[in-house]
C-alpha cells in the first residue's frame, strides 16, 4: 500500500514555535540575549559569588584596577568598584523595569481609550499626549524629583509619568486598526460591553508590538535613571550605576575607571535590551521574517 501525499500539506507549526525559530535565526538577537543573561546573572548571582560589601572601604581611594584588594579598583571613598557595580545593578534594573511598567500601563490606558472611542475623547487624550511630548521629559522629571525629594520611588514614578506618550501613540494606532476588524464587530453584536471589548477582545491582539515597546521602555528608563543620578538627583542612599558615575565625576581625570566601568555596564544592558527587542519585533513581523 502506498501512502498518498497529504492533501493539506504539512501541519503548520504552532505560532509560538514559529516565533522561536525566527528569533533563533537572528544572530544579533541571540547576542543580545546572551548579554542580557550576563547582566542579570552578574546582578542577581554576583552578591553570592563576590560577597564584598559595596558600601565599606576596602582599600585606599582611587586604587587602580588589578590591585590586591579590589579587582576593578576603588572609588573616591575607597569602596570596591566591582561590588558597587553588582550592587548598583539591582537598583538600576529595578527602577528601569518598574518605570517601564508604569509608562506602559498609562500609555495603554490612554492609547486604548483614544483609539477605541475616537472622536472627542480621542482629540482630548491626544491633546494631553501632545502636551507631554512638548515638555522635555528629562527636565520635567528633574522638576518632579526636586519637588518630591529624591528616593527610588519618586524617581521611578517621575520617569514613568513622563515617558508614556510614545506607548500611547502606538496603542492608539493598534486599537484604531483592530477595532474595525470583523471579529470585534462579532463580539460587539453578541452584546459585549465597551470595557470587555477594550481589555478582553482588542487588547490581546494589540499586545505583541506593545510588549516590544515595553522592553525598549526598560532600556530608555535605565538611561533616564542614569541621567537623573548623574545630575545629582539619584537616591543618595542607594547605589546605582548612574549614581557611581555622578559621585566620581569630579575625579574623572585621576581615576578613569570609576566613571568608565559603570558606564560600560549601562551601555551593555541597554544594548542587550534593544537587540532582544529588535529581535522579538522582527520575529513577530511576518513581513520581515523571510530575509
Amino acid at each position: 500500500m502506498t501512502t498518498l501525499p497529504d492533501p493539506i500539506g504539512p501541519k503548520p507549526a504552532h505560532p509560538a514555535t514559529e516565533f522561536m525559530r525566527a528569533f533563533a535565526r537572528n544572530q544579533s538577537a541571540i547576542i543580545g540575549l546572551m548579554l542580557l543573561a550576563i547582566v542579570l546573572g552578574t546582578t542577581f548571582l554576583g552578591p553570592f559569588l563576590y560577597p564584598v560589601d559595596a558600601y565599606s572601604m576596602v582599600d585606599l581611594p582611587f586604587a587602580p584596577p588589578g590591585g590586591d584588594y579590589a579587582p576593578l579598583g576603588t572609588d573616591y571613598l575607597g569602596r570596591d568598584m566591582l561590588a558597587g557595580i553588582i550592587e548598583g545593578g539591582r537598583a538600576t534594573l529595578a527602577v528601569g523595569a518598574a518605570a517601564a511598567v508604569i509608562s506602559v500601563v498609562i500609555g495603554i490606558l490612554v492609547g486604548s481609550f483614544a483609539g477605541f472611542f475616537g472622536g472627542a475623547i480621542d482629540a482630548l487624550l491626544m491633546k494631553v499626549t501632545e502636551f507631554f511630548q512638548i515638555l522635555p521629559t528629562l527636565l520635567l522629571a528633574m522638576v518632579l524629583v526636586t519637588i518630591f525629594g529624591a528616593s527610588l520611588v519618586t524617581i521611578t514614578l517621575a520617569i514613568g509619568a513622563v515617558s508614556w506618550p510614545q506607548v500611547a501613540r502606538l496603542a492608539r494606532a493598534e486599537f484604531m486598526r483592530i477595532r474595525k476588524l470583523d471579529y470585534v464587530a462579532a463580539a460587539r453584536t453578541s452584546g459585549a460591553r465597551n470595557g470587555y471589548l477594550i481589555f478582553r477582545v482588542i487588547l490581546p491582539a494589540a499586545l505583541p508590538p506593545l510588549i516590544v515597546a515595553a522592553g525598549l521602555a526598560v532600556g530608555a528608563a535605565i538611561l533616564f535613571e542614569a541621567g537623573l543620578s548623574f545630575l545629582g538627583l539619584g537616591d543618595p542612599n542607594t547605589m546605582s550605576w548612574g549614581l557611581i558615575i555622578g559621585q566620581n565625576r569630579n575625579y574623572l581625570l585621576d581615576a578613569w575607571w570609576t566613571v568608565t566601568l559603570p558606564g560600560v555596564a549601562i551601555f551593555i544592558t541597554v544594548l542587550a535590551i534593544s537587540l532582544v527587542g529588535d529581535g522579538i519585533n522582527d520575529a513577530l513581523n511576518p513581513k520581515l521574517r523571510r530575509r
Partner: protein, 333 residues
C-alpha cells in the same frame, strides 16, 4: 495660511497648559515660596512673613492665585531667583543663546552626517558601511550621552589636548572679535559632537531605511531609465522624499535634544539653560527651574512649527498651497 494660524492657536493653548502645570507644581512643592525665601534669609518676624504673603497673593483663593500667576507670565514676570538674586527672565535670556548655539550646531551636524551615512549605506545595503551604520546606531542609542561626553573629556583632556573641555570662552578673554568667534567655536566642538552622537545614530538608521524604500520605487526606475547620472538620481530625485521621515523625527525629538543638552552642558560646563537647570536644582531654586521648563516648551513648539513649514517645502503633497496636481517630489517637469 489658516493651517499655520490653527497651529499657532494650538501652540498657545499648550503653552497655557504648561503655565497651569507650573502653577500646580508650585502648589505641590513643600512649603510656599515665602517660607522658602524666609528659610534662605535665615528667619523673619511674623509681621514680615504676613506682609510677604500678602505681597505674593498667598492669602487669596487658589483660582485667583492662578489668574494672577498667568497674568504675571503674560507680562514677562517669571519671578525672582532666590539663589542668583535676579529676575528669572533675565537669567534665562542670558543663558538662552548658548543653548540655542549648542543645540542647533549639534542638530545640523547630526542631520548632515546621519543623512550622508544613511544615503551611502542605502546605496550598498550589504556593504561594509551599511553594517557600520547599523552597529553605530545601536551604540549611539545605548551609550548614555553624559557618559559619551565624559569619555571624550578623558581623551581630549589628558591624551590629545587639542580641544578645550570646559566652558564657552577663554578665561583671559580675546583681543579681537574674530579671535572670540574662533574661541567659542573651539570650545563648541566637544559638546556639539557629544550631543550630535546620539542623533547621528538615529538619523543614519532612519534615512538608510527610507532611502532603501525610495530607491526601490517606480519613479526612481523611470529616472534611471531616462539615463540620468546616479548622482542626480540619488541627490536630485530620491533624497527629497527620503528626507521626509528625518524631518518628522527632528520635530518629534527636539524636546529630547534639549534634554540631552542639559546633560551635555553639565559635563562640559557650557553656560546654557541646561547648566542653569542643574545649578538651580542644586539650590532648590524652583522659580528658575519652572521658568526653564516654560522656555524649553516654547523652544520645542517653535521647532515643531518650523518642522511643519519645512514639510510643505519638501513634500508638495502636504504643503498648504494648492497645486494644480499632486506630483511626486523631485520629479521636475
Amino acid at each position: 495660511m489658516p493651517r499655520l494660524v490653527k497651529k499657532l492657536a494650538s501652540a498657545i493653548g499648550l503653552l497655557l497648559a504648561v503655565v497651569v502645570l507650573n502653577f500646580l507644581l508650585i502648589q505641590l512643592a513643600p512649603g510656599d515660596p515665602v517660607s522658602v525665601i524666609v528659610g534662605e534669609m535665615g528667619g523673619a518676624s511674623e509681621d514680615l512673613i504676613a506682609q510677604m504673603r500678602a505681597e505674593y497673593g498667598l492669602d487669596k483663593p487658589v483660582w485667583l492665585q492662578l489668574l494672577i500667576y498667568i497674568g504675571k507670565i503674560c507680562t514677562g514676570d517669571f519671578g525672582f531667583s532666590y539663589y542668583f538674586k535676579q529676575p528669572v527672565l533675565d537669567l534665562i535670556l542670558q543663558r538662552l543663546p548658548a543653548t540655542i548655539l549648542l543645540v542647533i550646531t549639534a542638530l545640523i551636524t547630526a542631520v548632515i552626517l546621519g543623512t550622508l551615512m544613511g544615503i551611502f549605506s542605502a546605496r550598498k545595503p550589504k556593504g561594509v558601511l551599511s553594517h557600520f551604520v547599523t552597529i553605530f546606531s545601536l551604540v549611539g542609542y545605548a551609550a548614555p550621552v553624559f557618559w559619551t561626553g565624559l569619555m571624550l573629556l578623558i581623551v581630549f583632556a589628558s591624551i590629545f589636548p587639542i580641544f578645550p573641555v570646559s566652558g564657552m570662552m577663554n578665561v583671559r578673554g580675546n583681543a579681537t572679535w574674530y579671535g572670540a568667534v574662533f574661541d567659542v567655536l573651539h570650545h563648541l566642538v566637544l559638546p556639539a559632537v557629544t550631543l550630535a552622537s546620539i542623533y547621528v545614530a538615529t538619523y543614519s538608521r532612519l534615512s538608510r531605511a527610507s532611502m532603501l524604500d525610495v530607491l526601490g520605487s517606480d519613479y526612481i526606475r523611470t529616472a534611471r531609465a531616462k539615463g540620468l547620472s546616479e548622482r542626480r538620481v540619488v541627490f536630485g530625485h530620491a533624497l527629497r522624499n527620503g528626507l521626509i521621515p528625518v524631518v518628522t523625527m527632528i520635530g518629534l525629538q527636539f524636546g529630547q535634544l534639549f534634554a540631552g543638552a542639559v546633560l551635555v552642558e553639565t559635563v562640559f560646563n557650557w553656560p546654557g539653560l541646561g547648566r542653569l537647570a542643574y545649578e538651580s536644582i542644586l539650590r532648590r531654586d524652583y522659580p528658575t527651574l519652572l521658568g526653564i521648563l516654560f522656555f524649553s516648551a516654547i523652544l520645542v513648539m517653535v521647532a515643531n512649527i518650523l518642522t511643519d513649514l519645512a514639510y510643505g517645502k519638501i513634500d508638495p503633497r502636504i504643503g498648504g498651497r494648492r497645486r494644480k496636481k499632486a506630483r511626486p517630489a523631485g520629479a521636475r517637469p
